[in-house]
């Protein structure tokens, strides 16, 4: 580790956390419907779409509307991918996607996962990227934030039967947050060198006398919403390691900022909305501590380099450069990859599969914790609130009182729903990994032998279930087993969490808001933040300890003893 590398991590945290406070205040005003600047545009959209903006939805109606919206979007994307050959903006004449891959990809982009079992350059047209994937990047991000907003409203007042209007939430979040920020970001990324063209691949004669074909397309706009909406679906196979997605160290820093900023602004918005800002800061602090430690740990692991290669004759400094780009080096690559796995972005600017074992374990562990540091846009906040409910429950058990959170009594119904959401994820990750490794097809998908192979499969199921989309890219994921299996894992990982969250919100909204008494366990200080982190690590992390021990930890000690596979 070097001083400038550590300073870089500090710089990222300062830039993100500093921006989260004003953005959080702005988002609270947005969720309360107090932003009226674009009211005529809103009214026009409601009229065209037949939306009644005054209608208030119960939690069940909100969930049904969300499921129908997602299902329609899923079907449309599936159709676009299958038919892309016949659709406009296909300069390379790319054929339609096969059914199983189209199912996997549609599930992936509907759930904000952006797992990519396809190689974009040769398997998806510019058109399908634009009106298929990019549209999903906006809608799935807005939907996640909408659910978080609904949950916040449940805490904000007592005796409430309804949570808001899903369509209005999605339209407003897109108009006032995602679209303006993404547009400004796209302009900056274009200036920095990210292409925006409808022309096909360029064929050129190189300086040394050969020929080279260069893939390009309408990238700048996709890149902006890809990071801002914690989507992660790259225009290219190499994702943000590709120079056209991430041309230099400044774009790298900006992309990290974009993918973190809404996630950290949400707990601040939460604090504003419930009128108790310190409560939001307590959740924010837990997120920041987990992410900061992960960034430092991942940097240390990669800077330590691979002793087998150092012994073979490479310089020990700067660190493990396998799969990394020179313009980013060690610290700037590991910071990007921890930020992208602490959120549910899943973009990469270096190949995680080639990281040292501990360098690969940290992104994996961040996903296993349940994507809450700070998590995906919206999903991170509601995931964190689930853990907060479990933390007050644990604290309540210790002193024998009915737990309360933010003035709402937490009873067995809420705890059962919260545990359901947590355990469904565990089931898919562990059972999916185990089952895949018992099949010949699963084993044939592995690119590396030994414990690293186990990590590849575990990472894939974790990434899909947690809706991250990051990959140990050696895994050949375009097989019937993994296309369908991971597709289902993504759908359950999204909706089997989101529906219990809305049910909890509906139940809590109805309850009266209790005044604070001397017996109330304070949830706005360091004691609660510490307890919360403890519950996250024990509940989110320990379930995966045996699997992580057999994969990355075993590989780490074997690497130190010079064993290869």
């Amino acid at each position: 580790m070097t001083t400038h590398g550590s300073l870089y991590i500090a710089l990222v945290l300062v830039l993100v956390l500093g921006a989260a406070f004003p953005l959080g205040a702005y988002m609270a005003r947005l969720f309360e419907g107090r932003l009226r600047l674009l009211a005529p545009v809103e009214t026009g959209i409601y009229r065209i779409c037949g939306i009644d903006p005054t209608r208030q939805m119960t939690w069940a109606a909100y969930a049904v509307a969300l499921l129908i919206l997602s299902a329609l979007h899923f079907i449309l994307l599936y159709a676009i991918l299958r038919l892309q050959y016949y659709l406009p903006f296909n300069p390379q004449h790319i054929a339609g996607m096969a059914p199983m891959l189209a199912f996997n990809t549609a599930a992936s982009f509907t759930t904000n996962t952006n797992w990519q079992a396809y190689a974009p350059e040769s398997m998806i047209s510019n058109g399908a990227q634009m009106f298929g994937l990019v549209v999903h990047m906006f809608i799935s991000a807005a939907a996640g934030i909408a659910v978080a907003a609904a949950l916040m409203r449940a805490f904000a007042s007592g005796g409430l039967k309804t949570l808001g209007n899903l369509y209005v939430d999605i339209v407003r979040i897109t108009l006032y947050l995602l679209l303006p920020v993404a547009l400004i970001a796209a302009i900056l990324l274009l200036v920095a060198g990210i292409p925006m063209t409808f022309d096909g691949f360029a064929t050129i004669h190189t300086l040394a006398g050969g020929t080279q074909t260069i893939a390009r397309g309408p990238i700048a706009l996709q890149e902006a919403i890809k990071e801002l909406g914690t989507n992660g679906g790259g225009f290219f196979n190499a994702n943000s390691a590709h120079p056209f997605e991430n041309p230099n160290a400044l774009t790298n820093l900006f992309e990290i900022w974009l993918l973190l900023v809404i996630g950290f602004a949400l707990p601040i918005a939460f604090g504003h909305l419930i009128g108790r800002r310190r409560e939001g800061i307590a959740l924010f602090t837990a997120m920041a501590l987990i992410l900061g430690l992960a960034m430092a740990g991942d940097y240390a692991a990669e800077a330590a380099n691979n002793p087998i290669l150092v012994h073979a004759g490479i310089m020990a400094r700067p660190g493990n450069m396998v799969g990394k780009e020179i313009r980013f080096g060690i610290a700037q690559s590991t910071t990007f990859n921890t930020a992208a796995t602490g959120t549910s972005t899943g973009a990469v600017d270096a190949v995680t599969d080639s990281d040292t074992p501990l360098g690969g374990l940290i992104p994996l562990f961040l996903m296993q914790l349940g994507e809450i540091a700070p998590g995906g846009v919206g999903s991170g906040l509601y995931g964190m609130v689930l853990f907060a409910l479990l933390a007050v429950f644990v604290a309540g058990l210790m002193v024998g009182r009915t737990p309360e959170y933010l003035g709402k009594k937490v009873q067995s119904k809420e705890i059962k729903l919260a545990m359901l959401a947590v355990l469904i994820q565990t089931l898919f990750i562990l059972a999916g990994t185990g089952f895949s490794l018992l099949t010949g097809s699963g084993l044939a998908s592995l690119a590396n032998a030994g414990p690293h192979g186990l990590t590849e499969m575990l990472y894939g199921w974790t990434s899909a279930t947690e809706n991250n989309g990051s990959a140990f890219a050696g895994l050949s994921a375009n097989t019937p087993l993994l296309d369908y299996g991971l597709g289902l894992a993504m759908l359950f990982g999204r909706f089997a969490v989101l529906i219990p969250v809305l049910a909890i919100a509906g139940s809590l909204a109805l309850k009266p808001k209790l005044p604070q008494s001397t017996g109330t366990f304070p949830t706005d200080g360091p004691l609660f933040t510490g307890l919360l982190i403890g519950v996250i690590v024990i509940l989110g992390g320990l379930q995966f300890m045996p699997a992580d021990t057999l994969g990355p930890l075993a590989e780490h000690y074997l690497m130190l003893s010079g064993k290869t596979f």
């Binding site: 400038h4 037949g50 990019v134 906006f138 050129i204 260069i214 056209f244 799969g323 190949v351």
Partner: protein, 199 residues
């Protein structure tokens, strides 16, 4: 349930038309008009002919050129066999080899031997023998470029100091001591090299 179909379907179609078609079309038009160089991929010209992108690495072999990093990209030949296609920018990606992958370690060992044979003994800069994340890395570390410079000067019958000075002139440095790395763009370096003397 049926009352949701109309608003949901209309919203999906409206978003697809506005965000998926109108917005990218308008933004591309604007980009092409205002910043055509960036919008088309930062393509570099030499004597009126496009010779590459400033952002994308390309293959250079032989003693008279600065050598880029190894590239892990592969393709298939006419017979369907997998072949190495380094710096083929119609695709992208890294090797995906893990740290205990015996094949990867053997490849790095043989690259170390080749590097030492051409540029002299000693520990080899990490980036010279490892594949990048994109397979298209346009840069090499400053350390690596300075190690290559004397051999290239000798092959081109130039004073070693001239080539070393060229590397230092084109080098990019870490911004404010924190952001970025010390490196050189290989295409720009070789382009400058080709201008000061024929190989």
């Amino acid at each position: 349930m049926r009352r949701e179909i109309r608003p949901a379907l209309s919203l999906v179609l409206l978003f697809t038309l506005v965000l998926g078609v109108a917005l990218p079309a308008a933004f591309t038009g604007l980009a092409q008009a205002v910043l055509p160089f960036q919008a088309n991929g930062s393509l570099l010209e030499r004597n009126g002919q496009i010779i590459g992108s400033a952002l994308i690495g390309q293959s250079f072999a032989g003693p008279t050129w600065f050598t880029p990093r190894p590239s892990a990209l592969t393709g298939t030949d006419a017979a369907g066999k997998t072949i190495a296609t380094p710096y083929d920018a119609a695709e992208s990606g890294g090797s995906s080899s893990g740290p205990t992958n015996a094949g990867m370690i053997a490849r790095v060992r043989s690259r170390i031997a080749a590097y030492r044979k051409t540029y002299g003994p000693g520990p080899v800069p990490d980036d010279a023998v490892t594949t990048s994340g994109s397979g298209l890395d346009p840069d090499i570390s400053l350390e690596n470029a300075l190690r290559q410079a004397p051999a290239i000067a000798a092959a081109r019958k130039l004073p070693a100091a001239t080539v070393t000075a060229l590397v230092n002139r084109l080098a990019a440095h870490r911004l404010f001591g924190v952001i970025g790395t010390d490196h050189v763009n290989v295409l720009k370096l070789n382009l400058a090299l080709s201008r000061i003397g024929a190989p």
